[in-house]
């Protein structure tokens, strides 16, 4: 096993372990933390099906963001939708045989990276151009965008500019999954792309990327508006050492 293969094998096991364990820890923590009081925010649904619909449209269409700011919505939604396409397309490198629908989206998914980078560019530009957003941006906000843009650009490079031995890449990742380790192809741009991806996986549970699971646990969005019909209690809400 070459040093490169050794390093990338370890890196991806470490990254996967970090994101899985980190998210599991965080999600468990969110789930067990009490909600002392009912605090849904308007427009609050009065039934469980209403709450499910609310979260569904928040996740798929970014409803609230659309109400708030059309530019952020446009760039943010394009980025996320394109990212989803790109991720789904990448499934072909982790499955054998490749599922039919993954093949179907391949021709469109390929170009998703361009839209992704465009959306990110718009979001990043706002961090410089809009004085309010400049004020609230810290170095990590810029670095996060740099990381994602980096992933997008190196991905585009590998796919459309330099090309790579994709059969070998797939063999490497299938090897990781089945613990039958295969050599990692020596390609500096691909290596760079993969290092950035691993980095993103590692920082995911420690950063604002937690907005992905967090959204589902937001009491303002996921609570049902029926406090008069159903008395809200959390495990500790009745004790006096609690708060709202």
């Amino acid at each position: 096993m070459s040093l490169l293969t050794f390093i990338f094998t370890l890196l991806f096991y470490a990254a996967t372990a970090t994101i899985v364990a980190g998210l599991a820890f965080k999600i468990r923590l969110y789930a067990i933390t009490p909600t002392p009081l009912r605090i849904p925010t308007t427009p609050a649904p009065t039934s469980l099906s209403g709450v499910i619909a609310r979260l569904f449209f928040e996740v798929t269409l970014f409803n609230s963001l659309f109400k708030a700011n059309k530019w952020i919505w446009l760039f943010g939604w394009l980025f996320h939708a394109a990212l989803l396409f790109v991720l789904l397309r990448h499934l072909r490198y982790f499955t054998d045989p490749v599922w039919g629908w993954v093949d179907t989206i391949q021709p469109y998914g390929k170009y998703g990276a361009f839209i992704m980078v465009f959306g990110l560019g718009g979001l990043w530009a706002r961090r410089f151009l809009v004085d309010r957003i400049r004020f609230i941006s810290s170095p990590s906000d810029h670095l996060m965008l740099a990381l994602l843009v980096g992933i997008g650009l190196t991905g585009i490079g590998v796919k459309f500019v330099t090309g790579t031995d994709i059969v070998a890449v797939k063999a490497f990742f299938l090897g990781l999954i089945y613990f039958d380790w295969q050599p990692m192809p020596s390609d500096w741009l691909l290596s760079f792309h993969l290092v950035l991806v691993a980095l993103l996986m590692i920082i995911f549970p420690f950063s604002k990327l937690l907005h992905a699971p967090g959204l589902f646990f937001s009491p303002t969005l996921n609570q049902i508006d029926n406090p008069r019909e159903k008395r809200h209690t959390s495990s500790k809400s009745a004790s006096s050492d609690n708060r709202g």
């Binding site: 923590l29 969110y30 933390t33 009490p34 909600t35 002392p36 009081l37 009912r38 605090i39 925010t41 308007t42 609050a44 649904p45 009065t46 928040e58 970014f62 609230s64 963001l65 109400k67 708030a68 700011n69 952020i72 943010g76 979001l123 706002r126 809009v130 004085d131 309010r132 957003i133 004020f135 609230i136 941006s137 810290s138 170095p139 990590s140 906000d141 670095l143 420690f206 950063s207 604002k208 937690l210 907005h211 967090g214 959204l215 646990f217 937001s218 009491p219 303002t220 969005l221 508006d225 406090p227 008069r228 008395r231 809200h232 209690t233 809400s237 006096s240 609690n242 708060r243 709202g244």
Partner: protein, 496 residues
């Protein structure tokens, strides 16, 4: 008092360029030792305040999923940055919701997260030092907890939750706000925010009965502590004497009278308002809520009805059942608790009231959705009922009604500028500037439709607008109670 300039009302609302430090001087008076100790907090800044504050922060986050998720999930997208009325009125960047939250979040990250402990500069994590404490005191008292930002946040992050937690931490280390804490003390010992004792209250109500009889020739009662009445009315104490609040109280009395409902006020729970909410104190909020339960049991009533008040209704609608319930001793055929507007609306629906709209023909009306009713609670049995019911009551009691611009009403309504425990003279600059977005929207309907009066359903809104409207060239009496309209229009049967 600091001199300041009242913002100019523009034709169209404009998002201002940020002016760092514009409101850094705004700080409410600090509560003195006796006020603090009365409600269970240290009398002054304690020696090991930093340690205690951090510990309290950890405790609060571990007990509130909302706080925990809100601190983790913000991506700094900027959607909320132009949504706060205090930002629009002052241009101070710390009045952008996300920046206000970050005063808390940056400290949280410094002491509780991996990134903040090891790479504070990278993620903008900050120490809780004296400067940060001053920023906290200043800017967490520039949030009226109106939740407008939460409507626009893609993750539903509610700055109100964070400002409540910050105020609770401040109180825990001995830095309380005079206005809120004085009121909480009075509500717990005397029974209302104004410190109005039972004899004075009885006197006031008697005077009002005489006024009504003089004006209408009908004996309309305002009963106090009447055992076995059907309804306990809990209303903000401002309704007992402040203008235009008292006209609302007269309206409620006329509604009960006309519908033949038996009701009473309580001297023990002579306050709907619950300032425990504003300082994020579950304990204090619960103590004040328990007085209402106690009064209901003591008087043997079957229903609890709340008068016109925004945050009081939020606490009543969303929290009362949790804090002081279950209310299995009340009549389960009615919502518990009920809002006076729900009562009036039901009566109108059933044609149980005779209303003469022409009694309000001297007015052209618009309606200010109170923030805590609009975004912290509901009325009626359908989503959005809190927007429908007051408007239907207005339309049933007057002939001329025009809504303000869509992005300033209903779920998008602007706070009056005085909510969240900021309705105090030491914050008058903040209050005037914070009213700007509402004043601009009002001016539009005044210019376009000849609107003469703005209807409100919250005691704080009414007091705040009476105070700040003259700064913008309006008259202080251009804000009126919803039930003043009802009181004017209602036709009482003289033969009774």
């Amino acid at each position: 008092m600091i001199d300041f300039e009242t913002p100019v009302l523009k034709e169209y609302p404009i998002i201002p360029l940020i002016q760092p430090g514009a409101m850094a001087h705004s700080k409410p008076y600090v509560a003195k030792q006796d006020l603090q100790e009365k409600i269970g907090f240290p009398g002054e800044l304690i020696d090991d305040w930093q340690e205690v504050a951090i510990k309290k922060m950890g405790e609060l986050v571990s007990k509130s999923r909302a706080l925990m998720v809100f601190l983790d999930t913000c991506v700094k997208c900027g959607a909320c940055t132009d949504k706060c009325h205090y930002f629009l009125g002052t241009a101070d960047p710390y009045n952008m919701p996300v920046a206000r939250q970050d005063l808390f979040r940056d400290v949280y990250r410094r002491y509780f997260t991996f990134a903040g402990k090891h790479f504070p500069k990278l993620v903008g994590a900050k120490d809780l030092d004296k400067d940060m404490l001053d920023l906290w005191y200043s800017y967490f008292h520039q949030c009226s907890q109106c939740r407008r930002c939460s409507v626009y946040c893609p993750f539903g992050i509610d700055t109100a939750e964070i400002s409540m937690a910050a105020r609770e931490i401040l109180n825990t280390i001995g830095v309380g706000q005079k206005y809120c804490n004085e009121i909480i003390g009075k509500a717990q010992t005397i029974g209302n925010n104004l410190g109005l004792p039972e004899p004075a209250l009885a006197d006031t109500l008697e005077g009002l009965e005489e006024d009504i009889e003089e004006e209408t020739g009908v004996k309309v009662r305002l009963p106090l502590d009447e055992k076995n009445a059907d309804i306990l009315l809990v209303t903000p104490s401002a309704d007992f004497f402040a203008e235009p609040h008292v006209d609302g109280l007269i309206g409620y009395a006329k509604v009960f009278h006309a519908a033949g409902l038996s009701w009473t006020l309580s001297s023990h729970a002579s306050e709907a308002s619950n300032f425990g909410l504003f300082i994020g104190s579950y304990d204090n909020m619960q103590k004040i809520s328990m007085r209402i339960r106690d009064a209901a049991l003591e008087l043997g009533v079957k229903r609890i009805v709340f008068g016109e008040c925004g945050h009081a209704w939020r606490v009543a609608y969303n929290f009362l059942n949790t804090l002081a319930g279950p209310f299995d001793f009340l009549d389960q055929n009615y919502p518990i608790p009920q809002n006076i507007s729900e009562v009036t609306y039901d009566l109108i629906q059933r044609n149980a009231l005779t209303l003469d709209k022409s009694a309000n023909d001297d007015k052209v009306l618009t309606f200010h959705d109170s923030c805590n009713v609009a975004r912290g609670s509901r009325m009626g049995d359908v989503a959005g009922g809190q927007f429908i019911i007051p408007r239907e009551i207005i339309k049933a009691t007057c002939n001329h009604f025009y809504d303000m611009a869509d992005d300033t009403i209903k779920e998008a309504t602007f706070c009056c500028g005085g909510g969240g425990g900021l309705l105090t003279d030491d914050l008058v600059e903040l209050r005037v500037k914070g009213a700007l977005p509402r004043m601009e929207a009002l001016k539009q309907v005044v210019d376009n439709h000849g609107v003469t009066h703005m209807v409100a359903i919250c005691a704080i809104c009414k007091s705040q607008f009476s105070k700040v409207m003259p700064y913008y060239g309006f008259e202080m009496d251009q804000v009126i109670s919803l039930h003043q309209l009802v009181g004017n229009a209602i036709v009482l049967n003289r033969s009774e």
